[in-house]
Symmetry: D2
Subunit: 481 residues, 4 copies
């Protein structure tokens, strides 16, 4: 099995490391690549390449940087089916899900390509006798982008905003799903980025540590678990870097009596089980008011039960979880939930896919559970969802308040006032109203609260431009006229 | 000597602490007040009062919050002479300097009173089939404002933006100059802030520690020395808080051959010695190109030598330094500089003010010095400035690059291209072009780089609004039409 | 009866004109002042004074202009009760209505006082090799503000944005209600505006003609009837001026079955009869779906019937119409409506106020009417409202589409989707959702469509800043570095 | 010679008109196409097609509209050489000039493709008790784009912003250079615009009249001569439409003693004679201060004399003027100037191009002339430029002030204060500092003053978004929670 290569200073180079990890197709358990744990020297080389490319790239006219991004956007658009297939293979998501991700990812690049607009500074003449004041936004240097396995195209493409602003980047994809990033970098290579502006370094936690503590790294955009996000944020802060670290989630979907169940149900099922529930916007706990609880429960269980598993989406609706460890963890959590008193409404543990018996399959699993149970309170990256009957939305808001996460929350209602009140009161970063997966479009920022986000400026959009630049103020006057 | 009171939950209360420090008039060495080191319980009470006031205040219509700020602005405007006199007494700055600070401080409140404009969120309809996306800015809770002694009115009034956004605040003024903040709080009390929205807690480092680590504090705005700023930033980050921490500075003023010396010289002298050199925007090291070095040196020394000392500005141009410790430190630095080879061009150590022999007087002191000497490289809060001849602006930029600070830098030139190039290349937060003290007007943000600033979002203006709020995204659709 | 004076070039001067009109208290028919029709020479003098003051005022630092507006805001706030009483006397509105208008008017000045923020231009460095591009906003010169009788404080204060931007103004109040503007100008005089920046010229249509065609007037903000607005807009356009002309309205309030009648009814009654129905945001035609029509009709007629008339609001809820002509026109319209088949549900024609028998009293009048009837289709400035039963909101939207006006439209509903759909589809400038009088707060622009607005940029807020300024682009590079 | 076709409702159709005009290659005088004068019925059909396509297109999600623009951008980028050749043939500009125009034109589409960002509305919660206010930007309907001959690709592509906002368009190219627009429309056809969103109608003044007065046209973007611009603006205003009409120019280039002549001269020559002086940003009158007048004059005449003529730019530097009429007009103006006393420094009237003797050739012509002479005061679209010695920049500013045009003005200086003062004082829409052709990059608006622009909102960039949309304000509250 050939090892994947790092992309450093414009060259694809094999790591000298003997350490590394297998990349496996989660639907088949077959190894598809070897992801090396890059050595300190290699990480250093990537950072160094980025640093060296920075002065010229940041001094490149903004319209030229934009033109490179337009080119990248076009090449990604043209390669969409190919990249989607890579994602299916290394991540296990369905092909249509992969296409959906690519559509979203293109919008990241599209927003970043508006950089001449986004980078505009501000000027005020004659703020006091003959004195003008202005600021422009300056790029900062080298940024590290550390991505998780679940969106192998979208998150690495956070680098679009970083480079659009004039920074150079070192991208570290998940060691579970590095192939998509490698392919994206191959395409980027053809778009006109100067050598060293975009680098890809493979590896795991030690690479992250090195990136987070290296004095030539100006900042880091991280997406991963809450504990990792917190650790990265604290380390980066101690080392004088900017950091925006997106952590985990436990999102609540609240179903009220005025919800239009026929229309909301498919949306809710998708939120709960789309991407095999491995996304931070996934609905985890469904809270339904007593008036509609039973109907909702029965229809939800029935709809979830109809989901078929498979390795691509020829008729499939859900793929495997990412790894055997993940599968085993999910099994253990179900067991533990039962011991805590949760009631199994739908049990996906026996799920099999005949054609691929070795895949990490887990069928949709639904538990009636309560706050205080681990399965209700903790993040679980896999198709195990909780159901609970509640008295009213006040109870829902209390439950959400007590959660250690603050990523998103959703209400299903047709009442304007109910939606408004819910949106105002829940302490989360994103609110969905009849939208189970309230992932904002690329030109809006994404973040969270409590354990779901560490940092000040959110990811993506205009917040990203603020994050990847520093304002420089100039105060001026002239005497000889 | 009566102890100053804390302002907690709308009440002025005497601290139970026996610890504390004397507040002395630096011009006379007379004690004018006693500043207690508030106890843990009192700090807790202040935070608690702020926390309790938060829900109602953040839910108050933004136009009503603005109206309170308009009221505050008016009362501060009316009380300007009175507050200026307090500043003269506790800080030692000249009366006209104090009036100048108040003018600036008023503009802080003015910008914050534009909060209905500044707080506008964003909305996009139909971003995909029938789905709308929006964000609004939400206040975060309790913010701590920790202020230094040198601008006793301006920095505490950072709280204007915090409360305008809907947060509540605990303000900790410098224990050296707490009276101004106390007076401002008395005025704020009359403006319509609900109980607990604005609190003042007196004390020193232990109070800061408690504020920085308390779980009910959402964030902290700090201005002080670089080492304190860094410590506060790291502590706040470890405790999951937002922080913006402004540190020290060592600002370079670069004089080029095209400078209009007649007009630049007074500006340069003011930058160097205004406020007894105790401000982060003060020019510290004057670098003049060889072509004009001698003329500049002679005129600068002559102008500085003409500065008279005194406790108010009836004909005075410079006040004392803030404390006896500060005075002694400055003396020691001058001594040390001489041992390192610096040449004394003007020696202020013998300065006396007959009427007030006990004041902490130090006359303008000018040294010819070089990088590598401590007096050239380190911040020195007092009227000791360095002069150096340079070959060209490239050398100036190199010197600035090697400085551990990145607050501001100034060039005196009439050449557009020289100014532009300098502004583009220096790695600092603020650049002055023929403006020796490039403090941006209140509606522009202020920050720095390297050891001069720890954080992402700058202080004041729109950055402050971003800092004091979090964006909440709502994604919505409706079915029943 | 003493004649009111013009305010020209900082002096209060009596008009030489023998022409003019009586200002009468609509509640008593007593003459309270004489409003001269200023001569051509006087109008010329006002424009000339404004033109002369322009260079210095537009070159005044923006923070100083803002300070004048803060002062104006404070003086207006302090004089609120006094100005409200003037409005009661000359306009007939209730005292609490007058206080409400002043609250709104203050917010105009508040938003304009944010001018340092609002006037910020834009800068982009290095848009192509070494070339920078920026724009700043420049004031244009003299603006005319022509105000109607119904909001004697608010509309003249449109001048706040004009002068904040650096323009000078000639304000022409309604000849029916000029006293409020005169008083506002007296207060403005004390705030620090240089001579000639604010001028008040009294008179009627000929003055407007002169302002609209004078070569030294850069633009005009007009509020009045649709026919006058159109004429002013066309004349101004022919003479190369900017114009924003707000015309009349015929606003529809749509009541749906999900409306919360208990809460909406007072709101609806206020929209219909507040300010004696003399405002462009007044609800004119109430359209209720059949399911709730009868209940709504009965309760609306009953609530309207309970409104008492009176000259101040000690227990009063509606004042007189503005003039005898207006009263007679309303009577004639009611007569004509009856001949067209409208059914009188409530007849206010017999209304009397014992204490003031000579006032222009007309009680709330409600007709069941249909599109095609003049009373349903045309604007009627007085308390004569139409009711109609409709099948559904589609029919309402069709009726609104066919109206020649496009000012505002309101829906009463608790269904989020119904509100959203209505807001999206109605072709008007402002939409109310459970808000009968959807007058946007001062920091949002106000405008209309079809015959309700002539122009491109709306009134107030950021649109006003765009309207009162022109962007100047500077493209620059430098060679000698 | 085959007639060009209209593009109406997605179909390419031959006009029924027998009227029309020849399209000739200005370099050869050969006819290359026939441009029909479309009939009233055809114009009606184009408007009608646009109107019908509007509801669906304006309701298309903004990200989908953006995707169509990204596609258009890519197809235009790919077709750049081909389109450039068409421009060379019909317009006579050099191939590299045509490529330059295409580069600019691409940036128009790029900025418009940022429409999801640009179209963001504004939202404020709780502006008063429980009331929210927001606005969104709505498309208006059908816009007409009327383009001149000199930039056959750029100006028609103004439609990018119009359609990005959700409007449909009828584009009328110049009858002298319609082929480029036809080709652009062919490419647009492949990009996914629904039928009728983009239409092209051929013809001359009568078509413009019909567009300007048609009730289904919401607004018009026009670029042409000042007299035509004024007429179109007035007609559009009378017919209740929005209009932005860019007119002619007479731009002054001011050379000061500090100018870096070696670097400025090529820039100045290009400004004066680039595009055969047929562009609104062309430098017309060169004003040099006496200190450098003679040197500037001699070097300018010498450099201009070295320009060679030719029909493509294999070694060529200037093409022909657009038409025989234009050539004859230029000859007549030169004659007239001589009679008025202008002194001919360089006479281009005898210019010949051997290979293409029939082309409309006029060599660079330079006159010493004075204000008051027609050649100095009036726009002249062809390579006839004036030179004048001035005392100082004050005199230059006076000359610019007295001009009836206000498009742009340029200063060559290395002094920051001189540039700043000039930029501040000249009453024009664009200022160049050492940039002879201060055409702002596409993401900045372009406009002018006096006879150079009629309208309020400028062309392109964010102003275009304001122009092509109307804000709709929604004020809302809810009762049932």
């Amino acid at each position: 099995m050939q090892a994947l290569k790092n992309y450093i200073a414009g060259a694809w180079t094999i790591s000298n490391s003997s350490e590394g990890s297998e990349v496996r197709n989660p639907a088949t358990d077959e190894q598809i690549a070897w992801c090396p744990s890059s050595t300190d020297t290699e990480v250093e080389a990537a950072i160094s390449a980025a640093r060296r490319s920075f002065p010229a790239w940041s001094a490149t006219p903004v319209t030229k940087r934009a033109a490179v991004l337009f080119e990248l956007r076009q090449r990604l658009a043209d390669a969409t089916p190919e990249i989607a297939k890579i994602m299916v293979e290394e991540n296990g998501k369905g092909y249509s899900e992969a296409l959906g991700e690519m559509g979203r990812a293109l919008e990241y690049v599209e927003h970043a390509s508006a950089i001449p607009e986004l980078l505009k500074g501000s000027i005020s003449e004659n703020v006091s006798g003959g004195v003008d004041t202005q600021y422009v936004r300056e790029a900062l240097g080298v940024f590290a982008i550390v991505a998780p396995f679940n969106f192998p195209a979208m998150i690495p493409l956070y680098f679009s905003w970083a480079v659009a602003c004039g920074n150079s980047v070192v991208v570290k994809p998940s060691e579970l799903c590095p192939l998509t990033t490698v392919r994206i970098a191959e395409l980027a290579e053809q778009c006109g980025f100067p050598t060293g502006v975009v680098n890809v370094i493979l590896g795991g936690v030690p690479v992250v540590h090195q990136l987070t503590s290296h004095r030539d790294v100006a900042g880091i955009s991280f997406v991963g678990s809450s504990s990792a996000a917190e650790a990265v944020y604290k380390s980066a802060s101690q080392h004088g870097k900017r950091a925006q670290c997106q952590g985990g989630a436990k999102n609540h979907l609240v179903v009220t009596e005025s919800a239009h169940l026929d229309k909301c149900l498919p949306n809710l099922v998708n939120s709960a089980f789309g991407q095999a529930s491995q996304r931070c916007f996934a609905g985890s706990n469904i809270l339904a008011v007593a008036e509609c609880y039973e109907e909702l429960r029965d229809r939800f269980v029935s709809a979830a039960g109809a989901i078929r598993l498979g390795e691509d989406d020829e008729g499939m609706t859900m793929g495997p979880v990412i790894s055997r460890e993940s599968l085993e963890r999910a099994h253990a959590e179900i067991e533990h939930a039962i011991t805590e008193g949760a009631k199994v409404l739908l049990d996906g543990r026996g799920a099999r896919v005949e054609r691929n018996p070795g895949g990490y399959w887990l069928g949709p699993t639904i538990l009636e559970a309560e706050p205080g149970m681990r399965v209700f309170d903790n993040e679980l990256f896999g198709p195990v969802r909780c159901l609970k009957s509640i008295r009213n939305t006040d109870e829902a808001i209390e439950i959400i308040d007590r959660s250690s996460f603050g990523h998103s929350a959703v209400i299903y209602t047709e009442m304007g006032g109910v939606a408004k009140e819910f949106a105002r009161r829940v302490n989360v970063g994103q609110v969905g109203i009849n939208v189970g997966t309230p992932a904002p479009i690329a030109f809006y920022p994404v973040g969270g609260r409590k354990a779901s986000f560490f940092g000040t400026l959110r990811g993506r959009a205009n917040d990203a431009v603020d994050f990847y630049t520093d304002k420089k103020v100039v105060v001026s006057t002239w005497h000889a006229r």
